[in-house]
Amino acid sequence: MKSPRSKAQAKTDTAAKTSARTIKVDALARVEGEGALYVRVKDDAIQEIKFRIFEPPRFFEALLRGRIFWEVPDITARICGICPLAYLMGASHALEEALGITVTKPIRDLRRLAYCGEWIESHVLHAAMLHAPDFLGLDDALQIAKKNPEVVEKALQLKKLGNDILDVVGGRAVHPVNMKVGGFYKAPRKTDIAAFADRLAWGIEASRELAKLFATFKFPDYEFDYTCVALRHPDEYAITEGRIVSNRGRDLPLNEFLKHFGEEHVAHSMALHGFDRNAPEGYGGAYLVGPNARYNLNYAQLTPLAKELAKECGLGPICNNPYKSILVRMIETLYACEEALRLVKAYEEPDVAAVDVQPRAGEGFGCTEAPRGICFHHYRLDGDGRVSFARIVPPTAQNQKQIERDLREVVQANLSMSDEALKWRCEQTIRNYDPCISCATHFLDLKVERT
């Protein structure tokens, strides 16, 4: 979460010329952080497409070095105010591996419950308040509030439900303070958890209604044969842990992730671009993480109700239309409400809120499904339990190449559109990814030239 200082008013500048067209969005609206888009077309051919991230880097990986292990989850949580758990929990899992401990089932369940809360609040905010206006031809959520107040009312209640779960389990609605390496500082009270049951039952119905409403939108006719990458767990729709799988045959333990996927610096972006080391010809290394990737890979593990909702929304087991990610987000919201309800009903206050942890040297990996996609962590600790190495690969960094790839296809297919309409479509295309630009910007390859 950032201070308010630097958000410029969204400015757009489009210029139509006879043969050369430039589409520029100087400051993208309705995304987290600061990014821009630049497209240059000449004689009906795309010369250049740049999804630029100019959010300044924050050097988290460097500032973690030398820190004692138990500080790491709370520090990394600060990377994002929308999905702090992706950092807090990914770091905790990695450090628990490094320290040689395994948490108990009640701790694991509580973590999954908190994560369901994060999915609910993040997905609903994006789908209803930020992405839906694109489909309604409205400028922002305020216009929806005026036109469809009941949609905004429902979305706000759902979002609050997600935040309240984080508040009760995590100790605070944003940047939880009750979670640590090994578990929780204090287990939540059974009565407080049980109080969510009715609200979650309502949440299942509310997310279903919103999904069905969004399914009536007119979706641009565009599909891409994505390389989908997500976690997979043998027993559940993966959220907090699993192996990393793809629809092109990958099935990897976490410690092999970086052998198959890398990150590179490109001149036009402050954020590293993730790439697939074995991408098919013509993909330029692009791959997809996030709701559609999860849905396509793990559809079979959704609940009957979630599958039924998908069907009602016109989706089969594979969704390769990125604009329909708004539907997938609501299907995942319904799933998260159901899953949270199951965990709430089964909850008993555990005897121990956290497993005992002793510092030692070690190495560990962690990965969770942030609302926007897999968020990968790797740490090494020295004998005192201090961080000697840290590496974090956030989801939006991984999606950047795919965002540019989608933009290229979308622009090429819609060159007959007016500049204004094309600009709108491009922004909508970027928002398919719910990009969290602040999170993505975590490293700058700084080169000093001296003469």
Binding site: M1, P4, G81, L142, P149
Partner: protein, 146 residues
């Protein structure tokens, strides 16, 4: 504005952006109901719920002299867009107030105080003119709260 619920919006580790939390702290110390908030819109709307008198204090960037305080009777007229900045997906104070108005969730009494900031760097201290304005504002709100 009798017995108001005060929301101090801002980030106390970004210099003058911390003016909202600073005022909230000062009023809480005088026994008033005051909380600190980051400024995320949906949270603000949730805090409006069930409250008749709400006072919001936030840092402002309008180009006025640092320490300038502006008072907006937000229950009666729209909050000018563009004065209060917050980057989380651009759903912030002004959007929250107007959205709450559109869905009928605006408190009957809602006053927003904007305090013009000068410095937004990392740091936990307010600049001198902002601090002076904040201290005066604490007095004003405390006095009006009866």
């Amino acid at each position: 504005m009798m017995h108001p619920f005060i929301i101090g919006v801002g980030n106390r580790w970004r210099s003058d952006d911390g003016v909202g939390p600073f005022v909230a702290d000062g009023l809480a110390a005088r026994g008033l109901a005051a909380v600190e908030e980051s400024g995320e819109g949906a949270r603000l709307i949730a805090l409006f719920e069930g409250r008749d008198n709400v006072v919001v204090v936030d840092a402002m960037r309008s180009g006025a002299a640092p320490g300038t305080v502006r008072r907006f009777e937000a229950a009666e007229e729209p909050l000018p867009a563009g004065l209060f900045h917050y980057s989380s997906h651009q759903f912030a104070l002004a959007e929250a107030v107007e959205t709450a108005r559109a869905i009928g969730r605006l408190p009957a009494g809602l006053v927003v105080f904007g305090v013009e900031g000068a410095c937004w760097d990392y740091g936990d201290a307010l600049s001198a003119p902002v601090r002076a304005a904040a201290e005066r504002l604490i007095g004003t709100i405390a006095q009006e709260s009866g």
